[in-house]
């Protein structure tokens, strides 16, 4: 089997399903829309607060990007579990390792590209409205945060993709992950600060801080998210390899 051919095929599959491709576009589009809503209106007022953190606050809109990234990772995989579509896919590419790796690689590449574009765009566009509070890419940690933010989005998409392969349902994964990201992580974060640092979203977002506090640095935090994503992908691989299609 030709790896390039299988990658190309996976890309066609993602592009041709509205839910997946829409989520991929939404990573960028929603973030930019939120940026344009928030920064011209309340950006400067927020920056005036005593606890303002110019660099981390610049990535406020990534909260929305990560929801889209998770949706993309989940739907890109779940389209295989609708009405036995997986059987068609595996009759074309019976090597399950190649099939899973190609799908993972396409999800990773697509979200990394969309994530980096989003991360840089939200930073640069948002800062254009910050007046006297404006920071640039030359700000210490800014370039690292932009690149790290893109990688973070890709990792969250892969985390969702792996979980979806394990649970075989985007609905299940989204109804676990999205409330988790929106609520649980915050609540747990406030109650048990130590352990919560290692949650996938908390850890990965360390890269967006100029001077991260706590046990994890910017890149080690991202590495922790990468471990979560890798664990989810491995669990997904176990399911794809073992189960009847």
């Amino acid at each position: 089997m030709s790896t390039t051919a299988v990658l190309h095929s996976e890309w066609i599959k993602i592009r041709s399903v509205r839910a997946s491709f829409g989520s991929l576009i939404a990573i960028f589009a929603v973030t930019l829309a939120v940026t344009l809503l928030v920064f011209p209106t309340v950006g400067q007022a927020e920056a005036d607060n005593a606890d303002a953190e110019p660099l981390f606050d610049a990535f406020y809109a990534l909260n929305f990007a990560q929801i889209a990234a998770i949706s993309f990772g989940a739907t890109a995989v779940s389209s295989e579990y609708l009405n036995g579509a997986l059987r068609i896919s595996l009759s074309a590419v019976p090597n399950r390792g190649l099939f899973y790796a190609a799908k993972t690689a396409i999800v990773a590449a697509a979200t990394l590209a969309a994530g980096l574009a989003t991360s840089f765009a939200t930073f640069l566009v948002g800062q254009a409205f910050m007046g006297e509070y404006t920071i640039g890419l030359s700000q210490p940690g800014a370039l690292r945060a932009c690149i790290g933010g893109g990688i973070y989005l890709a990792l969250m998409a892969l985390f969702a993709a792996g979980l979806t392969a394990l649970l075989r349902s985007a609905v299940a994964v989204l109804s676990i992950l999205i409330p988790f990201i929106l609520i649980v992580s915050f609540v747990v974060g406030d109650v048990a600060a130590g352990a919560a640092e290692y949650l996938p979203d908390r850890a990965g977002q360390q890269v967006l801080h100029q001077d991260p506090v706590g046990a994890l640095g910017p890149w080690t935090g991202l590495a922790v998210t990468a471990v979560w994503a890798a664990a989810a992908l491995l669990a997904g691989w176990w399911a794809v390899r073992r189960r009847d299609a």
């Binding site: 089997m1 030709s2 051919a5 299988v6 190309h8 095929s9 996976e10 066609i12 599959k13 592009r15 041709s16 399903v17 509205r18 839910a19 389209s79 609708l82 009405n83 036995g84 579509a85 059987r87 068609i88 595996l90 009759s91 074309a92 590419v93 019976p94 090597n95 009847d244 299609a245």
Partner: protein
């Protein structure tokens, strides 16, 4: 060699044995009908042959190799398992393109199979707008994409209109004439008899028959005569004396098993018994098949009347 070899194949789901020590070979150059009641294990056998499910024991190979080890398998084996499996959000063309690209099948084949299955005009429409018949055609298009030597179709005429059924029948016969290996499942005997050269019959996962179609026809469509007379008592007496088995049916007709109309006519004429109606009746093929599978039907209606769909 492009035969499908099923050897001592067994598949258990929990405690249910869906396929039970099954052994048969599907040879090239002919259409093999794969028959059995619902739940007999036909689809499971096909999934096992395609390496989608793992056998509990035994093996299934195509051209001597497990399916999963075939390079670019769509170029060698084409399968339609479930017409509903294509993702509704894709267009027919995108669905086929994704498959073609993965096996490096030239893009023109996508247009060729769309044309061949009569879907060219709806190639750009989303699959969710398709009727069952159109999905069935799309599934067949996908199976033919790589111009494969081996074709497996699970109930391909399901949902097709009469014209579609004739089309699929001719398609199957043509594929076999080309020397390809063609395995087609169905739960309808009459339909299968219209295209199959050979049949393999399953019941509860076990092999019930593996025989040329003609042999099955000869063995199971025995002669029977239907006769109506104004003097049933005398006719009956004469026939019984001659050793025929006579039975009266509900509508006042008599049926004589194992006889030809010509014999009965001649007999009645010599005896001077007036005959109002006399006809040869072939015992229904479907009936023979139902008898064969009767003990091995997984799901039966409570009433003993058998629903015949064809």
């Amino acid at each position: 060699m492009t035969s499908i070899d099923i050897s001592n194949l067994t598949k258990e789901y929990g405690t249910t044995r869906a396929v039970d020590r099954l052994t048969f070979t599907v040879e090239p150059g002919r259409v093999t009908g794969f028959l059995g009641p619902n739940g007999a294990g036909k689809s499971t056998t096909m999934r096992l042959a395609l390496g989608l499910d793992r056998p509990t024991s035994g093996s299934a190979t195509i051209g001597g190799r497990p399916y999963a080890t075939i390079e670019e398998p769509l170029r060698h084996v084409g399968a339609l398992l479930d017409a509903q499996a294509a993702h509704g959000s894709r267009t027919a063309r995108n669905h086929l393109s994704a498959l073609a690209v993965s096996n490096r099948i030239p893009a023109r084949r996508v247009d060729e199979v769309l044309e061949e299955t009569g879907l060219a005009s709806v190639a750009g429409r989303r699959i969710k707008t398709f009727s069952l018949g159109m999905r069935q055609r799309l599934g067949i298009a996908a199976a033919l994409l790589g111009d494969p030597q081996v074709v497996l179709l699970d109930e391909p005429s399901n949902g097709l209109d009469p014209e579609g059924i004739i089309w699929i029948r001719e398609l199957l016969r043509r594929l076999a004439r080309d020397g390809r290996t063609v395995l087609v499942s169905s739960h309808l005997m009459n339909e299968t008899a219209s295209f199959a050269d050979h049949i393999v019959v399953l019941g509860r996962g076990r092999l019930l028959a593996d025989t040329p179609m003609q042999d099955f026809l000869d063995a199971h469509s025995h002669a029977r005569v239907r006769v109506r007379t104004t003097d049933p008592a005398r006719l009956r007496a004469v026939l019984v004396r001659k050793g025929y088995e006579v039975a009266q049916s509900d509508d006042g007709r008599w049926t004589v098993d194992g006889a030809q109309a010509a014999e009965i006519g001649a007999l009645a004429a010599t005896e001077g018994i007036p005959i109002m109606e006399l006809a040869d009746e072939q015992a229904s093929l479907e009936q023979a098949y139902l008898t064969l599978t009767a003990d091995d039907t997984e799901f039966t209606a409570a009433s003993p009347t058998t629903a015949q769909e064809a």
